[in-house]
Each structure stands twice: as structure tokens, then as C-alpha cells.
Symmetry: C2
Subunit: 203 residues, 2 copies
């Protein structure tokens, strides 16, 4: 059975949990506390030398890291990833946008707030907020005339961007000026088999 090394508060891990659930795939769930350093132990570093969750252990005992690479692996050949080459490249474009221009700002500020370290990062937080809002504006423009990010339907590009956008308020981001983003968040949340980031009943 697939085994997911996870951390409850992580939006990156939530992407994989959500997709596994929507695909109806069973998996074993292993919770690690990143704040307590449980992903930097020698035992975990032997699984992922980059020391990060989510990490998926495949049926053959090998490991796959990086939330969006895991999503691609699981979604290929399913309705969550289109077949058309240009559409597939655009799914990747938005997933790389998420990891480079969105997550390092929106997720990182949320994590600082979550750990009670916002004051300690006061010197950096304004620049992070500005870059996060710039990412939200790019999303808003794209969604003005679109229901989903790519190919007019729900794909792993939407899951990738939903993960931290829907909890951006926890980092103090105000989504009020982004009506198209808010409408898209509601569309994603209404997809079949959707689970919230707080879902934890893996029994």
C-alpha cells in the first residue's frame, strides 16, 4: 500500500491527501511533526535527503518527494491531468508558479504566524506579503474569465494552488479584493470527495 509521510498543518501535504482521497486510493498515513524536527532525523533523511514532507513511499519501497511531482505521478492517466501536451505543460506551469511565486510568500507567512514567530520576522514580512499579493493578482487576472486554471476543468493545478490560497487568511492575507479567486476557491471546495485541510480520520 502507498504510505504518505505527512504533517497535518502543511498545505503541500494536503495537496497529496486531497488527491489520494479524490482518486479513491487507500494509503497508510504517517504523521511527522516538522516543528519538532521529525523530518530531519537520520532515519527520515535516509528516505528523503532534502528532509521535507510530503513524501510518498511507493509500493516498491522507493520514495517520491515534492508535492507537485507526487501529484503528477498519482494523477497521470486520470481526469485530474489532461492528455493534451500543451495543457499538460500549462498544468506544470501553474504548479511551478505555485512553488516559486506563491508558496514561498503565502505559505511561509502563514507558517510564521502559526509558530508565533511573526514578530521575529517583522523585517521580512512586508516584502513577503507584497509578493504574496502579487501572486494572488496573477491568479485573479487568470481566473477573471476562467472557471479553473487549465483546460476549463478541475486538475492538479487547481489542487496545487488551492492548498495555500484557501488558508491565506491564516497568514493575514485579505482575499476580499480577489473575487474571481474566491469564486474559484468555492468551485474547488465543491468538487466530489473534497476533504478539508483539517480532515484527519485516516482509519
Amino acid at each position: 500500500m502507498l504510505r504518505l509521510y505527512d504533517y497535518f498543518e502543511s498545505g503541500n501535504a494536503y495537496k497529496v491527501r486531497l488527491l489520494l482521497t479524490q482518486l479513491g486510493l487507500r494509503f497508510e498515513h504517517v504523521e511527522l511533526d516538522i516543528v519538532k524536527g521529525e523530518t530531519r532525523t537520520p532515519e527520515f533523511l535516509a528516505k528523503n535527503p532534502n528532509g521535507r514532507i510530503p513524501l510518498l513511499e511507493l509500493e516498491d519501497g522507493t520514495f517520491l518527494a515534492e508535492s507537485n511531482a507526487i501529484q503528477w505521478y498519482l494523477a497521470d492517466g486520470t481526469p485530474f491531468l489532461p492528455d493534451d501536451p500543451a495543457c499538460r505543460a500549462r498544468v506544470l506551469q501553474w504548479m511551478f508558479f505555485e512553488q516559486y511565486s506563491h508558496e514561498p510568500y503565502i505559505a511561509v507567512v502563514r507558517f510564521w504566524v502559526f509558530k508565533g514567530e511573526a514578530d521575529q520576522h517583522a523585517g521580512e514580512i512586508d516584502a513577503k506579503r507584497a509578493a504574496g499579493y502579487a501572486a494572488l493578482q496573477v491568479m485573479e487576472s487568470h481566473l477573471l474569465e476562467r472557471e479553473f486554471f487549465v483546460a476549463g476543468r478541475y486538475t492538479i493545478a487547481d489542487i496545487a494552488l488551492y492548498a495555500y490560497t484557501h488558508v491565506a487568511d491564516e497568514g493575514g492575507f485579505d482575499l476580499a479584493p480577489y473575487p474571481s479567486v474566491r469564486a474559484w476557491l468555492a468551485r474547488v471546495a465543491s468538487q466530489p470527495r473534497h476533504i478539508p485541510i483539517t480532515f484527519s480520520d485516516w482509519s
Copy 2:
């Protein structure tokens, strides 16, 4: 014909230039100076709302952004991207590693040095250097017993990681403690049709 919006000093753009050349694909080359703001003009933002190069204009006049998404689009179906699903996911894993755990440190410090802004970022540069060295260490461990990153052969994962690693010294990174990385750099540079980042004869 394909049209590449480029910036000579960019390792991200170099990935695409190198792959296009190795694939033997002809393309039109449009140089934009990011330091002078040429990727933030209304005209360019209409092409890529995220205001970044490289940007590839496809034959149908649409645009594709994000260096590694462009690489995927060009390489799929060629020897630069394996067919096996697990290998393809691992290529993506390393490309996401590059954009999240490598480029924001190794490329950003190089860019600060290039722009003569190292002093101005003195407060951040030590943390960036440490994170860059951590990425080099992850690469070193992986390459200890491997010739290339995935599937035992040269793929777009290698191009993605080569782009900024081979010029890391320009940001003050010392590669001496990473012999496997240096041997891999030499293997990449000896591939057929390799061009250096300084190559600019697009006539």
C-alpha cells in the same frame, strides 16, 4: 517558429536555450533586459502576467512560462525525458527541488553579486549561502553513486540543475567540497551539442 523571450544572464532561460539547441529546434530569440524592467512593461505582462522570462511563444501564438514547464513541453517524447512513469515523476521531483530548494539561494545570491548588490543584502546572504550549500549537499549525496539524476542518463532534470550549479562560483559558492557534483557538471558539459551559458550566436 518558436519564439523565446530570454535574458542572457538567466540560468532559467539558459535551460531552454540549451535544450532547444540539443533538440536541434530552430527558434527566434528575443532578448529582454530584466534589470531595466523590460519584463514588467504592459506589453510583456500581456504575454506573461507573472512578468518573468524565459517565456516561450508557441507556433499557435500562445505562451508558456516557467523554465521547467517549458523544458517538459519540449522534451516529452524525446530521449531527454524518460517514458517510465516513476522516472518521469523523479525528473519532476528534481525540477521542483531545483526551483524551491536550489534556485532561490544559489541563483539569487549570484544575481545580487551580478547587480553589485551583495553589500545591500548583507543581512540575508549568510542564510541564503547556507541553504544553497544544503542543496549542493543533497545533490552530492545523490550523485555519489550515480552518473545523472534520473534513470542513469542525461535528462531535463540534469539541465535544470546544471543551469545555476555550474555558475554557482559567480555567487561565491565553493564547489571544491562536492567532487561528485563537479564530476557530474563535467559529464553534462560533454553532452552532444552542449552550448555554454555565454553562447549568443542565434543568427
